[in-house]
């Protein structure tokens, strides 16, 4: 059984090609990062994989079970409290489980707050708790730390790493931050400019234990990536 199988031939918006040929498979429980320049079509690809957008050529096979998505904006319902945002999702378990999940992401005090009254970082963490509440087999994340200040982003990365490891879900995380990719993922997929194709697909040389060390990803960064635009040619 595969965690995720993508064999995309192309995707276009109003005759403008956005994505070209992109093919990869993820093993169950594998965590992959999707990196590429901004505007390359990372979000478009994630929407296809998550099953929000069905208009494309090719085939995407998702594993049996629930797919969760952590969107770039948290997309919590502003008129429901953080706890309600979790309990109203089918399969999330009850009130107690929602509060336990919020406690896991450090939000036990804020469970009864409305999303617009807490910080973006807290909203992101609540959205992460919601994604894991449905016990997903596949988690798709779009820029989970973008526009957070560096310490908050680092804390969020730590949470994502620990919670994904505990859930054993297959995960695909889009990011423009190469250090983040090396911190979170077992495998790094790089896409190029529009129409984006898969230009590199490599395993992270750091194993899950090694990348916990602070600074490990940063140390590897300059040499390992080289010049991505040259690689694309």
């Amino acid at each position: 059984m595969s965690g995720l199988s993508v064999a995309l031939d192309g995707k276009q918006f109003d005759d403008a090609p956005v994505l070209g040929r992109i093919a990869f498979d993820l093993a169950p429980g594998e965590i992959a990062a999707l990196i590429g320049p901004s505007g390359a079509g990372k979000t478009t690809l994630l929407n296809l994989i998550a099953g929000i957008d069905h208009a494309f050529e090719g085939e995407i096979r998702r594993p049996e079970g629930q797919v969760a998505m952590v969107f770039q904006s948290p997309r919590l319902l502003p008129w429901r409290t953080l706890a309600q945002n979790i309990t109203l999702v089918p399969g999330s378990g009850g009130e107690d489980r929602a509060r336990a999940l919020l406690a896991d992401v450090g939000l036990s005090e804020a469970a009864d707050q409305y999303p617009e009254r807490v910080s973006l970082g807290m909203q992101r963490r609540a959205a992460l708790a919601r994604a894991l509440a449905i016990d997903p087999v596949l988690v798709v994340m779009d820029e989970p730390t973008v526009s957070l200040d560096p310490p908050t982003a680092a804390a969020m990365r730590g949470l994502i790493r620990d919670l994904l490891a505990a859930s054993q879900a297959t995960a695909l995380i889009a990011t423009h931050d190469r250090a983040e990719a090396l911190t979170l993922a077992d495998r790094i997929l790089e896409i190029g400019e529009r129409p984006a194709r898969l230009v590199r697909d490599r395993a992270n040389p750091l194993d899950r234990h090694a990348r916990r060390a602070p600074g490990a990803a940063d140390a590897l960064l300059p040499g390992w990536f080289g010049d991505a635009t040259r690689a694309a040619e």
């Binding site: 929407n47 998550a50 099953g51 929000i52 629930q66 797919v67 969760a68 998505m69 969107f71 904006s73 997309r75 319902l77 502003p78 008129w79 429901r80 109203l88 999702v89 089918p90 399969g91 409305y114 999303p115 617009e116 009254r117 919601r130 449905i134």
Partner: protein, 255 residues
């Protein structure tokens, strides 16, 4: 100290409309004295007319009108919202039926009322139906606008997390439409009140509209103003007692 200052400012805010109304009363009384004609009775005369009418079923007539307003309002809100949502969510439906909506929107209220009475007889159903039909297009247009502006991001979220139809309506769609419902309810109430009077005037034997017609024939302006006054008080009470608190509740999550 800061709290008492805020309370004082709040009291001042409440005081101004009262003062303004009081000023209106004074101008009215002065005009009545100046003109000194039975076609413009002063506040005191209207008050005594109200007491006189009270003996002769004022409350019953006001109640009959209120019940018609309630029935027509609920009917129009439910049907209008359903139509507006359907048209706002489906472009095909909007292309097919959008024209019908502008047709009904521009159909004079009086024509609807006459047709309903001609087709269905001078019955309660015809009366309430005629009022509802007048109001439905307004509700539908307002809610269609709301449905068009539904947040696509949140609808995608609902799809990913497999919310069923009921949960989508309760948690995603209706909370976004709350402001549109409030607008439709406000405008609707004002419109329904007015049309109900015409319906009563043309084909009912009780209600404020019927009484206005009667007193018009008797040339009793004081009684007419007495009914108008009761009317204004009730509409304001509904606005302040029902719609405004509901809106505050619906907006509790806003920053």
């Amino acid at each position: 100290m800061a709290e008492s200052a805020i309370a004082a400012r709040g009291a001042g805010k409440a005081l101004w409309p009262l003062l303004s109304l009081l000023g209106f009363g004074v101008v009215w009384a002065l005009l009545a004295v100046l003109i000194a004609s039975p076609v413009l009775p002063g506040p005191a005369e209207v008050w005594s007319a109200l007491l006189r009418e009270w003996e002769q079923g004022y409350a019953m007539h006001l109640g009959a009108t209120l019940l018609r307003v309630l029935a027509a309002f609920c009917l129009a809100m439910a049907i209008g919202a359903a139509i507006g949502l359907a048209l706002g969510r489906s472009e095909g439906a909007d292309r097919l039926f959008g024209g019908w909506l502008s047709l009904f929107l521009n159909l004079p209220a009086l024509v609807t009322i006459i047709l309903c009475y001609v087709w269905f007889g001078l019955t309660e159903v015809a009366a309430i139906g005629a009022v509802a039909i007048n109001k439905i297009p307004n509700v539908a247009v307002t809610l269609r606008e709301g449905a068009r502006r539904l947040d696509r991001d949140l609808l995608e979220m609902a799809e990913i997390y497999r919310l069923n139809w009921r949960a989508r309506m309760a948690h995603v769609v209706l909370p976004q439409l709350a402001p549109y419902f409030a607008v439709a309810a406000r405008n609707g109430l004002a419109l329904v009140w007015k049309i109900v009077l015409v319906v009563e005037l043309l084909g009912r034997s009780n209600g404020v509209g019927f009484q206005l017609h009667l007193h018009f024939q008797l040339f009793d302006v004081a009684a007419i103003l007495a009914y108008a006054l009761g009317f204004i008080v009730i509409v304001q009470a509904i606005e302040l007692g029902l719609i405004a608190p509901w809106e505050r509740y619906a907006n509790r999550w806003r920053r």
